[in-house]
């Protein structure tokens, strides 16, 4: 932000004086003083193109009218936006733009929210002088989700520019020349792209619209709700538009939320998940083996009564609870309170266990925070970025946009460690923007990190005074790294020493270095140790506590961060505070008027084991589906079948819910109030867009009802009351919305780590993972994120299913040739644990020897995997396995 007078400029607009930062465009300066200059092609996110000529204004001492959208302010400049000359110019430009426009407003979905309509209303005569024949484009089918009506196009190219400058997708092309220029895409097939919907949102007229809501509404008929997307951890602010109980359209206003109005396919086209016909609408109770419809009263009493008996007989420790990181903070908080107070057990876990805990525990251990010390703004402002284990667009698309902004707009240097190979296809590929890319599969990602660390110490890029202050730490790490041989690093990363050296120099040279760790690292066997090594990288280069620097682990589910902060995992009380911390226990006890159970609780997999062993008798599972998500080896189904009571709160009858004694239908995030905490630690309000579907209720109401029936009332009238309690207990929940300042590293924690904290697992996490040799005929099967889905919920969204409707195995062209496969062929994958058959798609971005299968359709694949559990964080890793592949008819 400019502070000194030298970075600001004073000018007058229609007589009003305004001071703005150097480089501000006249059109923006005018906005500051409430002067709205009409425009079509200008958009704050895009480089000025000044093609529509609508924004012409008079600038003193300039003979010609100037385009306000492309003219930067100058000291003492005097701008006039309302003279007759300017008005005539606006009129005439509009007359030109309207000349060929079909004026089909009555059947145009943009009608009522159309810049062209508004400006015409403002400027032009009611009759047209244009008596010639209007241009007509032949209409051709564009895509399943996006509709184009080129006769309405004003050729501002905002869609094309957005698709390139912001998305880096470059799917759209202005085709032809002159008046016959139309927006198309390459090829005879329908548009195939990221379907971010950006072109729909940014089109100032009705030329590009969404097919999901085509002809279904007039804007003024719709009810709007400002809420937060329920898919990934980016936590985009969305406006959900509804007609009665019907979801019509989702969009996001320019400037709104952490996403600044940008969305991805999931946010823009994925809003129908909750309206899927299979949605549960009534409670179900198992009678004579079958789940049958019941009333809420019956269901709740059944649960309360059964719970009471089991607790009396076997105690709280015979219970376990599992909740999804898709629930609101209020629900997560209340759930753990319910389990800890009403049931009296610490056997609690949430989806954060699947990987997010790895990053978070590393963060706590090294810098004593549970949140990032950087935010999205720091990512966009970074001059050097290191991405590890994430082709970020696919897992966290909006965080990805911040990275793209840093690289494309600000020329930041990007270093990436991620399996994906650079290649240009229909989705943006972060490796294409990378200056130093290390294509290393998840199984060996840590080796690449160690390569960078080794280069740092060997190039003496270690911050000098760190050596002064903490010689023991530096020497220990250095020694460990010198023990590693470059040959081994190269063998397992397929990258040479020089590229590590160069990359290390880039990283050490950065002033604002941000490291992002994604799912392929966090959910891997090395999720925890790899994260620690990344923190060591920041420490050694002296950046950990520098402004604008930090290491951030990306949350996959929308509220994984909240789940941990609410204490919905065994090892943490709300805060998160260590379950063992006396001081915190006392604080919480005062508020709860009850002591949380002392002993550490069981994690997800441990609970299942105990259930299998008959120690655990009952489980409450909220929005999670272990049977569908965990490999056979964990024997989830077998264990759950042994329970005396399994209660599932669900939107759909999942594999797990199908085993339940009681299934309770609950509301989706479109149907309830509360808060989500996004990956960067922003607490944001969730607001209902429609009434709960059928008899479903918000999860938190269920916990309240049960507690009352069990005579240990957790009395909350609405979710706001829960938030009040959360505020009194957990810092950072005081205010919603506006950006909080990210926390600073906790010096004492860092010193503790540097003096002895680093030691315990040093040797193990500084050991290279030996390269695996795979026998011929096999590939390394990996579960990966798809841009078009998030968890399994999105696989119920009709829009997204049109883009990606089933699990397809993605393989490298060389392997395709080796196995004689082409797009659409079917293969059988098998190993000792089982087999599956699936369809293949050949993609250059897949590295040779790997085969990618989307996590979201993993049901058939999951049994082929085994599960390695991290001894410290108890995170089960189930992302990779070796299978033999064979073509089948």
């Amino acid at each position: 932000m400019p502070n000194t007078t030298t970075d600001t400029v004073r000018l007058t607009i229609d007589g009003t004086t305004v001071t703005v930062p150097k480089g501000t465009l006249v059109i923006e300066a005018a906005r500051r003083v409430g002067v709205m200059i009409p425009h079509f092609c200008y958009h704050p996110k895009l480089k000025p193109d000044a093609n529509c000529r609508m924004c012409l204004v008079e600038v003193e001492k300039m003979p010609k009218l100037q385009t306000a959208c492309s003219t930067p302010v100058a000291e003492g400049m005097s701008v006039r936006t309302a003279t007759t000359v300017v008005n005539d110019a606006h009129k005439s430009v509009l007359e030109f733009i309207l000349a060929n426009h079909p004026l089909d407003c009555p059947v145009c979905d943009q009608g009522g929210k159309c810049d062209l309509q508004d400006f015409s209303h403002q400027y032009t005569a009611t009759t047209s002088r244009f008596v010639e024949t209007k241009r007509i484009f032949q209409k051709d089918y564009f895509s399943p989700l996006i509709e184009t009506q080129m006769n309405r196009c004003v050729q501002c190219l905002r869609c094309v520019r957005y698709c390139d400058e912001v998305m880096d997708v470059k799917a759209l092309a202005p085709v032809g020349r002159g008046t016959m220029t139309e927006i198309k895409h390459f090829g005879t097939h329908p548009l195939d792209c990221e379907f971010c919907g950006g072109c729909v949102q940014i089109c100032p007229v009705g030329a590009i619209t969404s097919r999901l809501s085509m002809y279904e509404y007039r804007p003024w008929m719709l009810k709007r709700a400002e809420t937060v997307c329920g898919y990934c951890g980016d936590g985009c602010q969305i406006t959900v538009q509804t007609k009665d109980q019907e979801l019509i359209e989702v969009n996001s206003a320019q400037g709104a939320g952490r996403n600044n109005g940008d969305l991805c396919a999931r946010g823009f086209f994925g809003f129908h998940a909750g309206s899927h016909p299979e949605r549960l609408t009534h409670p179900l109770i198992r009678r004579h083996g079958a789940l049958v419809q019941a009333t809420w009263e019956e269901a709740l009493e059944f649960v309360a009564e059964r719970t009471g008996r089991i607790k009396a007989a076997h105690g709280g420790q015979s219970f376990g609870g599992l909740i999804s990181g898709r629930c609101t903070n209020e629900e997560l908080y209340l759930f753990q309170k319910f389990m800890r107070v009403t049931i009296a057990t610490n056997n609690i876990d949430s989806s954060a266990r699947y990987g997010h805990l790895n990053g978070l525990q590393a963060m706590r251990r090294v810098q004593g925070t549970h949140r990032w010390t950087v935010g999205f703004d720091d990512i966009a402002a970074a001059d050097v970025l290191l991405l590890v284990g994430t082709n970020i667009t696919e897992s966290n698309p909006i965080t990805g946009l911040k990275v793209k902004e840093a690289v494309k707009k600000r020329g930041a240097a990007l270093v990436t460690i991620e399996a994906v190979e650079p290649s240009i296809d229909t989705l943006s590929n972060i490796a294409n923007l990378s200056r130093h890319h290390f294509s290393v599969p998840a199984t060996h990602m840590r080796n690449a990190i160690l390569g960078l660390l080794k280069a740092v110490v060997e190039q003496s890029l270690v911050q000098p005074d760190l050596l002064q202050r903490q010689p023991a730490y530096v020497n220990a790490v250095t020694r460990a790294l010198l023990d590693i041989s470059w040959e081994d690093v190269q063998a397992s990363t397929r990258a040479d020493t020089a590229s590590f050296t160069d990359a290390a120099k880039v990283l050490a040279g950065g002033r604002r270095l941000v490291i992002l760790a994604g799912q392929s690292l966090l959910r891997s066997e090395q999720g925890y140790s790899g994260s620690l090594d990344l923190f060591d990288l920041l420490l050694l280069t002296g950046k950990l506590d520098q402004p604008g620097c930090g290491c951030a682990s990306l949350a996959e589910e929308n509220n994984d961060q909240g789940a941990v902060e609410m204490g919905a995992v065994a090892e943490f009380l709300p805060g998160p505070c260590d379950i063992t911390s006396r001081a915190d226990r006392d604080r919480i006890m005062k508020l709860w008027k009850a002591e949380p159970p002392p002993n550490g609780g069981a994690s997800l997999v441990e609970m299942l084991d105990r259930a299998g062993a008959g120690i655990l008798k009952a489980m409450f599972i909220v929005g999670e589906n272990p049977v569908g998500s965990l490999p056979a080896q964990v024997r989830a189904e077998e264990s759950l079948r042994k329970l005396d009571l399994l209660v599932c709160q669900e939107l759909f009858l999942t594999e797990t819910a199908a085993l339940a004694h009681v299934v309770l239908p609950v509301a989706s995030s479109m149907e309830k109030s509360g808060t989500f905490t996004n990956t960067e630690g922003h607490v944001q309000a969730v607001r209902p867009a429609i009434e709960p579907v059928g008899e479903s209720r918000p999860d938190w109401e269920v916990f309240v009802a049960l507690s009352i029936l069990m005579d240990a009332p957790l009395a909350y009238a609405e979710s706001k009351d829960i938030l009040k309690e959360i505020r009194s207990l957990i810092p950072g929940y005081g205010s919603l919305g506006p950006a909080p300042v990210p926390p600073k590293v906790d010096r004492t924690a860092v010193d503790r780590y540097l003096s002895e904290g680093y030691q315990k697992d040093l040797t193990s996490r500084y050991r290279l993972i030996a390269p695996k040799t795979r026998p011929d005929g096999t590939v390394q099967l990996e579960l990966v994120q798809s841009l078009f889905h998030s968890g399994k919920l999105s696989t119920r969204a009709k829009g997204l299913l049109q883009v990606e409707g089933r699990g397809i195995l993605k393989i490298n062209p060389l392997d395709a040739a080796r196995f004689g496969l082409v797009d659409g062929d079917r293969v059988r994958l098998s190993n000792a644990r089982g087999e599956m058959t699936t369809e293949v798609r050949v993609m250059e971005r897949v590295p040779e020897g790997l085969a990618w299968f989307p996590d979201h359709f993993s049901h058939a694949a999951i049994r082929l995997f085994d599960c390695v559990i991290d001894p410290v964080t108890r995170v089960p890793s189930i992302r990779t396995t070796s299978v033999s592949m064979m073509k089948v008819a």
Binding site: A171, A173, T188
Partner: protein, 176 residues
């Protein structure tokens, strides 16, 4: 695949520019030379060679009139109809050719030999009426000349009447 066929030429083209994309039009010309027009697979391959999306190749290809995305005749006759040529009879020339070949501008003869197009100024305004056929200019056209040219092309595939290095009026210092 262009790459196999023209490896050397492609490398030579790429070597001229510090930024790969600059080689786009030269490579599109190469593709057109190879197939007679720019095919979809060719655009895909060029995109790969230059690290562009096919859409980026497509948008450029469609901007320029000399790049054909559809088949054209073996001989592409382009008659200039801009004012300067029109002043000296280009419309008449178009008339002749239309009748001689029996095709209206924008069409090709059944045998796929000739395509007739009417185009804008080709920088031969002093020597109009004129036309371009494939790479060659033919200027100061008369009816006999047009007949000879078409005949030559049919029979020999080329014609001596095409222009050489241009200078008009043809004069030397002596003749002033």
């Amino acid at each position: 695949m262009l790459k196999e066929k023209y490896q050397k030429e492609i490398d030579e083209i790429l070597a001229r520019y510090p930024v790969k994309r600059s080689a786009l039009i030269p490579l599109l010309y190469l593709a057109q030379r190879d197939q007679g027009y720019v095919t979809e697979p060719a655009m895909k391959e060029i995109a790969r060679l230059l690290g562009l999306t096919p859409s980026q190749v497509y948008e450029t290809a469609t901007f320029y009139t000399m790049l054909n995305l559809k088949k054209v005749g073996k001989f592409h006759i382009q008659v200039c109809k801009s004012l300067m040529c029109a002043l000296v009879g280009s419309d008449t020339v178009i008339g002749w050719i239309t009748t001689k070949l029996g095709i209206a501008p924008g069409n090709s003869t059944a045998d796929g030999l000739f395509t007739l197009s009417v185009v804008e100024c080709l920088a031969a305004c002093g020597t109009g009426p004129m036309m371009q056929i494939n790479d060659d200019y033919y200027e100061r056209l008369t009816e006999e000349k047009v007949d000879r040219i078409l005949a030559d092309l049919k029979t020999t595939g080329t014609s001596q009447l095409k222009s050489g290095p241009f200078m008009w009026p043809e004069r030397t210092q002596a003749s002033g």
